[in-house]
Symmetry: C2
Subunit: 270 residues, 2 copies
């Protein structure tokens, strides 16, 4: 490939890195593609990194060693996360979201690309350093946020189901008590995960914690360690038994006819 101008190369490099977040791309892949020396590309990367950091748009990280290279992570200043969540709280507290019975209508926000990107970016940036091997969610409502988190972390998404499905092959099923005291089932294909891996649980909502504890038990069956859990909304009143390593985004209480809904940002984000 013929040599190109630095400005054009920076546009192409930024496009490639940003579209494949957290993937370590080797310098040799870039030297081949652009016909540029490694020293030239290092200067390009320094320019991109400076600009991303300066504008709160993320950062590049250089990884040394045989499997080394450079990766993009979309993490910026914490204030950005705070502003985004403050806006989301305003949207959530809008009176027309309240459904009969005190339920909150969330389905649109949990599948709106801009909202999902914002939520997933905060979750990904909270857990990069713990190096999970995959993202685990329970069907259905949390799948978009979990998928986008998987995208930002460059990890596979694993979806536990309420029932075994014939097209998932041999599966492990567990029974667990739900918040309402009923016994529920969850199922995961034997092929989905491997012994010794590390899971990050991502889902839309945690109330009593029954489903979360069910997912942790399910991972026990696979000898997989749960290194963390993030929920978009975590019920904080009435209090529940705490779950270790939970970093949820928004805490809520109330939401019934006699107790108005209250939503606050989790302390670790501010």
């Amino acid at each position: 490939m013929d040599k190109i101008k630095r400005t054009e190369r920076i546009a192409a490099l930024t496009r490639i890195l940003v579209s494949r977040p957290n993937e370590v791309i080797s310098f040799s892949a870039f030297t081949e593609r652009f016909g540029s020396a490694k020293s030239t590309l290092s200067e390009d990367m320094a320019i991109i990194d400076t600009s991303l950091r300066h504008h709160g748009l993320g950062q590049l990280q250089t990884v040394a060693g045989a499997a080394g290279g450079v990766r993009f992570r979309p993490c910026a200043q914490p204030e950005g996360a705070g502003r985004f969540l403050a806006g989301l709280i305003d949207t959530l507290l809008s009176p027309d979201r309240l459904l009969p019975g005190g339920y909150l209508y969330l389905s649109d926000l949990l599948a709106d690309p801009e909202t999902v990107r914002g939520l997933s970016r905060i979750i990904a940036c909270a857990w990069y350093d713990e190096r999970p091997d995959f993202i685990l969610t329970m069907e259905t409502k949390g799948i978009p946020v979990a998928m986008m988190t998987a995208d930002y972390m460059n990890l596979p998404l694993v979806i536990a189901r309420r029932q075994s499905k014939v097209y998932e092959g041999s599966a492990v099923n567990i029974n667990y008590p739900s918040g309402s005291g009923r016994i529920e089932t969850m199922s995961l294909s034997r092929r989905a995960v491997k012994t010794g891996q590390r899971a990050l649980i991502v889902d839309d909502l945690i109330r009593g914690g029954g489903t979360a504890r069910g997912l942790i038990s399910l991972m026990d069956e696979f000898s997989v360690e749960v290194i963390g859990l993030s929920f978009v909304l975590s019920q904080d009143t009435p209090p529940r038994k705490p779950i270790e390593r939970e970093k949820s985004l928004l805490l809520f209480s109330g939401g019934s006819e006699d107790r108005p809904l209250s939503i606050t940002m989790a302390d670790w984000i501010r």
Copy 2:
């Protein structure tokens, strides 16, 4: 904001545009952010566009008018899509994916970020010109591909459910015949879509077409037009009644113990 060098500005601009595909961002948003004249930014955009097109990484499009600005679309040459799908076919035909009963194990690929990005990019690029208002999918397996398509098109994702859920509020339910002749139900919140909108259906698999026709009937109830349908895998033998405006990616036949699985790329992609 103080002026910055063109190289740094191009890195930041590319990052912003690529992370918000198909969103028309006004030049004034950029002039404010970077303290640069519109003419300078136009030159930047021209450089970015040239580079993206040259390297098969997508393109920028300028939209004129009051709501005008510039948007990024990830569409490249068709050969890229063909190469990606040829690789996917090889993976799918690997013998260890065959489950008892002739089913194909797909769940990992349908939730692997790189695969999902590749599939969603092809679907988004096939439908941009038809300007749908939202992406519609049926829970569960197609949600990741549908979500990533929604992300590339900057459209909300709407998920039809097998049952009404109390947290989705008042819902429209329809009954439809599934491929096996049984009557199934699907449900969608009344709040999810609006009369007169245009839907693009995205899902993982179509066999007999029962669910797809169910989704089309469901949209009829909302007076929503289905402008197109894309499935990752579409069964082509035995033949079924064609569905208008279907652009699926891969066609398959066989997959039982007596008939080996065969998968080919759809003609419109080649």
